[in-house]
Symmetry: C2
Subunit: 328 residues, 2 copies
């Protein structure tokens, strides 16, 4: 029987796992079973905690094997948020543990920006902007990977949800103070959502999920954009930042693809219309395309290609790290 694969997407909202088998001869991989947990893998002093990840993944793998009848799992791909900077312990321990406990031969540890890329475009050249609360752009010419932004809400993530929400709240407070650049419409929205503005600092600074709180105001900015020039300017600036990041990672030559993926697209036309304009302006040589799938889909794609030996994407110590058990 064909060996199966496990494809994993590990992020802030938990773990999602697929057990599948590779499609041969260019066929799509077959998804045989799915599991999900709502418990995000912990990050400790050693970075992402391998024990906590395995403690969730191994029982899921066991029950998926029983459910699907797939006896052997040859390949595991883990796409994880924070892998580039917080993945050392994972890289050190996961391959050995998976070989020992599941008999896995090939393990790939992949930054979530790369699973987002592959989920959106597959193994083709181009640029993908992943935009949710944060924002990161990933590109490849199939020789190496490029990234732009993804620095978090204080240092960048320019144009992402927290960035838009923060700019909207600043405009609300400018209106409150009588400073230039204010928006009475955003001020009214901010008071609806958070109460009197005098209490706003107390509602935001003590929280540990400040970026998410800021991002929760982004839909209000989008809702105001049709009638409010300040809100429209915030979204236009966000679109410009997104196009800047896409352009920084997109191959200069050829006919690369460009896609945008992530929850921020839910803001609708208020963002999407200026975004299409800015992308067309900054990347006239690139072909705009819709994302094929999400990061879990990217993880499945990488696993299937590794299993069939048709994997062509460039490796990268931090962003796409593949290891094959020499004793396997």
């Amino acid at each position: 029987m064909t060996p199966g694969f496990l494809a994993v997407d590990s992020g802030g909202s938990g773990l999602r796992v697929v057990l599948g088998t590779a499609g041969g001869d260019g066929d799509d991989p077959r998804v045989l079973g799915r599991r999900a947990s709502r418990e995000a893998v912990r990050t400790g002093t050693r970075g992402i905690d391998p024990g906590h990840l395995l403690g969730q993944l191994l029982p899921m793998a066991e029950s998926l094997r029983k459910e699907t009848g797939v006896v052997r799992i040859g390949t595991v791909v883990v796409g994880a948020a924070g892998l580039a900077t917080l993945g050392d312990a994972l890289r050190a321990e996961l391959p050995g543990a998976l070989a020992r406990d599941l008999g896995v031969r090939t393990v790939a540890l992949v930054a979530d920006a790369v699973t987002a890329y592959v989920g959106a475009l597959g193994p083709r050249t181009g640029a993908v902007v992943a935009a949710g609360t944060g924002l990161i752009a990933t590109g490849t010419d199939l020789e190496r990977w490029y990234r732009a932004d993804g620095w978090g809400h204080l240092l960048g993530d320019c144009g992402g949800g927290a960035w838009i929400g923060r700019a909207g709240l600043e405009a609300a407070l400018r209106a409150h103070d009588g400073r230039p650049g204010g928006s009475a419409a955003l001020l009214a929205r901010a008071e609806e959502r958070f109460g009197p503005v005098a209490g706003l600092p107390g509602r935001i600074y003590p929280r540990t999920d400040r970026p998410a709180v800021l991002a929760s105001f982004a839909p209000d900015v989008a809702a105001c954009a049709a009638g409010d020039p300040v809100a429209a300017d915030v979204l236009r600036a966000a679109a410009r930042h997104m196009a800047d990041s896409a352009a920084a990672v997109c191959p200069r030559g050829g006919e690369p693809l460009v896609a945008v993926t992530g929850g921020l697209l839910k803001l609708g036309d208020a963002l999407v219309v200026p975004l299409e304009e800015e992308l067309a302006k900054r990347l006239p040589h690139a072909r705009r395309t819709a994302a094929e799938g999400d990061p879990l889909h990217g993880s499945v794609r990488i696993a299937s290609d590794l299993a069939t030996g048709s994997f062509t994407l460039p490796g990268d110590e931090k962003m796409l790290w593949v290891t094959a058990d020499p004793d396997g």
Copy 2:
């Protein structure tokens, strides 16, 4: 003997206390003794902790009385950071406690933005920008108080130290990524100060004093401004924000004064030259003047004027709250 006063400045770096006596007939107040602690008054679930403030202030008052021979303290003025939003417990408990333990008749609780104002301009109409890590502008027409900004590093404090440092680091990372708006000079400075930029998020996000860490990069931005147009633009934008806030609180008519106070002036000409230009542009009717003194000086001034009955500034429940013991 003339009753004395205590003037207090309570902020992030601790408590500073002066015992003095009021000058009669327009004479300056006499400062007889000083104390300082390096322990910032705690903020708890009830806001600024009155017990923690009194636990430091009462022993200082006792030893100052012994040292100076001033037997009676009639007036206490406490200028405190965060008073407007976090001062409820202080307003509820401090006057009674000071009446009981020190026989004090008159207590004023004053926002640090107002002690900064009075320290800079005294009881005259105008606008004062207090700029350090954060930024707040305070103005008065002697009928009421006006404030602009002071919303903290995520919502505003536009043009303050954290704002300048954050903008400088963003420009450094833009250069690193190859996005527009980057500065190679700021990138080199950022790596000198914080190490390789890949580690920058890990150096900033886990800290509880993020605004101070961001502000620590502001001197680097100033140092680059002479040769680097991106750094110069950051400081020009900061100057514009400062002038915006000053203009929002400055009386429109008459000949108001305008002053800038706080640690940010240490950045020197790179900030001060564009700041003078922006203030002249935004407030042509206001007379620019140097700040007479610091917030503790403002607290002394308010205490002395209250003690002599020559206090003329407008009261404000949140910003300048004076209470006189009716049984005193």
